[in-house]
């Protein structure tokens, strides 16, 4: 039976590094069995936040409780699995040696070979870390995180730099962990990943949570489920575009105007007749559903990956 008790709460988290305010008052709460995502551009403070929660970074202010204890408490470390943003496991050890090493730290972990099989590393069981591909390394990092049989998993950008197939495997592993009742806190740059894995999200920027909610809820908060991108020559003015039926917002993206519309069937014919009446030639028009990316652009004025 899934319980809804708080696994992790943190309030008013603050951390500065020599004048850089990396985290400026972050509140989070995770309930058992959910996957919680932190989204944000480079330097938003995701890694700093997660490493405070892992007990690796001292906090300057705020309060954190994990399973009722302070972060870094050995009772917490026993129940938490971690994959840092960047860890190089010893090149000269084999896969099974690494997993066995990590297994030895936990009082009640999982069986080494079972974890290796679960992460589809059995073929590479005796291969040296130096010889693994990026995706295999990431799965090994997850194996080291899972072998302690954790109740809570911290994953800092678990799929950055992986190809789509390797990413898919990582997603499966995370979803399987969740299906087994585990709780996950992950950070990511990928909207698709956040949408696929996370029950709830917090969007971070400049060390602050600027929006939070479920992926669907965040998209709905745009007030318009659809996006129309149009390029005309000459360009149409934003005032006229914004006055079109059901359009709630107009923005620019390179040559294109981007219209957020609640109802495409009303907005699109009106857009085309506006162009015709102005004598503007429509070079491109496309429609799609709004995504988290649009939420992000709307909130921060910048794309996730180029912020």
């Amino acid at each position: 039976m899934p319980d809804t008790t708080a696994v992790l709460t943190c309030t008013a988290l603050k951390k500065s590094f020599a004048g850089v305010h990396a985290v400026q008052g972050v509140d989070l709460d995770l309930v058992a069995g959910e996957c919680f995502g932190m989204l944000g551009p480079n330097g938003a403070g995701k890694t700093t936040t997660i490493e405070i929660l892992e007990g690796l970074t001292e906090l300057d202010g705020g309060e954190v409780r994990i399973f009722g204890h302070a972060p870094g408490d050995v009772r917490v470390r026993e129940r938490v699995g971690i994959a840092l943003q960047e860890t190089e496991l010893p090149d000269r050890l084999s896969v099974v040696e690494c997993v066995r090493l990590f297994r030895s730290f936990y009082a009640r972990g999982r069986e080494v070979d079972a974890v290796i099989k679960h992460l589809e590393l059995d073929e590479k069981r005796d291969a040296r870390v130096a010889k693994l591909s990026g995706g295999q390394r990431q799965r090994l990092a997850l194996a080291c995180a899972l072998v302690g049989n954790p109740d809570l998993l911290f994953l800092d950008e678990p799929t950055t730099g992986l190809d789509p197939q390797a990413r898919l495997k990582v997603w499966e592993i995370v979803l399987a962990f969740k299906a087994g009742g585990g709780t996950v806190l992950l950070t990511t740059h990928y909207m698709e990943e956040a949408a696929r894995l996370c029950d709830r999200l917090a969007v971070l920027d400049h060390g602050r949570v600027i929006a939070r909610g479920s992926p669907k809820g965040l998209i709905a908060s745009l007030g318009a489920a659809h996006v129309i991108e149009v390029i005309t020559s000459p360009a149409l003015d934003d005032a006229a575009l914004g006055a079109l039926p059901s359009v709630v917002r107009v923005s620019a993206k390179a040559d294109a105007r981007v219209l957020h519309a609640a109802d495409v069937s009303a907005a699109l014919p009106a857009l085309l007749s506006l162009a015709a009446s102005r004598g503007a030639h429509v070079k491109h028009v496309s429609t799609r559903e709004a995504t988290l990316e649009d939420v992000f652009v709307h909130l921060t004025g910048a794309g996730l990956r180029d912020a």
Partner: protein
């Protein structure tokens, strides 16, 4: 499925360190191969030869030469006078002998001990050949003290040098490398006992120290006949203490440093003076007296001197209290500071 019988993390951490080392061919060569090569090369270069004969050149006098050739301690050469003088000048001969009228003349360089000795030996040989009898009865007793050859001096120095190099590289470098690669940080996030991690460093050093010591002592003994005059247990105890001393220094270097370049520089800064001053290749007694207290306080000096006392002179462990105290201090003080200041990231 939970697995409730894991191996101990101390064992696993030690195993990790041992495996990482033995799988690094470069490190294995520098720790094991290089000192052995060095022992061989230096041992061959400085091995003891039979005593050199004294070189005599006889000018234009075959009869005189024949008398001298009867003495096996003399190497006799014959030449015309001009050539013979030239040989003497070039130190190809220690003494030139010629006869004019009834007088035998010895020509030699008084400032060269070889010259003076050769003159006496030649004179004695000629006098005996011409009938002089010894008036005292005498006997020769030739000695070669065990442990007095250069290779006897060298082998303990190589052991000391090797323990220093392998401890520093094996500990300091690997710590800094693990910190740089965020492995220390990752370990710190597990419930791993920090004391297990630090203990595993010492344990894995102990394993290697055993191998290094056995290899060097065995090579010294089998290849060069360097016998351990004192007890093997004393050698082991001193090496262990020396190893701990270097481990303390290595932990201190590795406690906070985050770049392997900085660590390399610090290690050289520590090791260079000791290579030069601590008497690995030649006795540190050649350095000026003002430096001696400083030199004696270095851990490598303490290790080298005490190993030499035990290996070459058969000294007991009890007689080595001062070097033992010095090594123990080097093991303890930096280690405690390192523990206090250690950084996991």
């Amino acid at each position: 499925m939970p697995d409730s019988s894991p191996s101990s993390s101390l064992v696993e951490l030690t195993r990790m360190r041992v495996l990482m080392f033995v799988r690094d061919p470069g490190a294995v060569f520098w720790v094991f191969g290089f000192p052995l090569v060095l022992a061989f090369v230096l041992g061959l270069a400085f091995r003891n030869r039979p005593p050199d004969p004294m070189h005599v050149v006889v000018a234009d006098d075959p009869a005189l030469a024949a008398q001298l050739k009867a003495d096996v301690t003399l190497a006799v050469d014959e030449a015309p006078l001009d050539d013979a003088r030239w040989k003497l000048r070039r130190a190809q001969a220690d003494v030139l002998v010629y006869r004019s009228g009834g007088t035998v003349t010895y020509r030699y360089d008084e400032t060269r001990p070889e010259g003076r000795v050769a003159r006496l030996a030649v004179e004695r040989a000629l006098e005996r050949a011409n009938g002089r009898a010894d008036t005292l009865s005498s006997a020769d007793e030739k000695v070669s003290e065990p442990g007095s050859r250069y290779i006897d001096f060298l082998v303990p120095g190589l052991i000391g040098m090797n323990l220093m190099g392998s401890s520093l590289w094996g500990i300091a470098y690997s710590l800094v490398d693990a910190r740089k690669k965020k492995l220390l940080k990752r370990l710190a996030a597990t419930p791993m006992k920090r004391s297990d991690f630090l203990l595993s460093i010492l344990l894995s050093r102990l394993v290697f120290l055993g191998f290094e010591l056995v290899a060097l002592v065995a090579i010294g003994w089998l290849a060069f006949g360097v016998a351990v005059q004192g007890s093997l247990a004393a050698v082991a105890v001193l090496s262990l203490l020396g190893g701990l001393g270097f481990a303390g220094i290595a932990m201190l270097i590795g406690a906070r440093t985050a770049s392997t370049e900085t660590a390399g520089g610090l290690m050289n800064l520590v090791m260079m003076p000791m290579y030069l001053l601590s008497g690995a290749f030649f006795s540190s007694k050649h350095f000026p007296d003002v430096l001696q207290p400083f030199i004696k306080a270095l851990p490598l000096t303490a290790l080298n001197d005490s190993l030499r006392a035990v290996i070459n002179e058969g000294a007991s462990l009890g007689s080595q209290r001062v070097p033992i105290a010095i090594m123990a201090a080097w093991g303890l003080v930096p280690f405690v500071i390192a523990l206090r200041t250690f950084r996991w990231q």
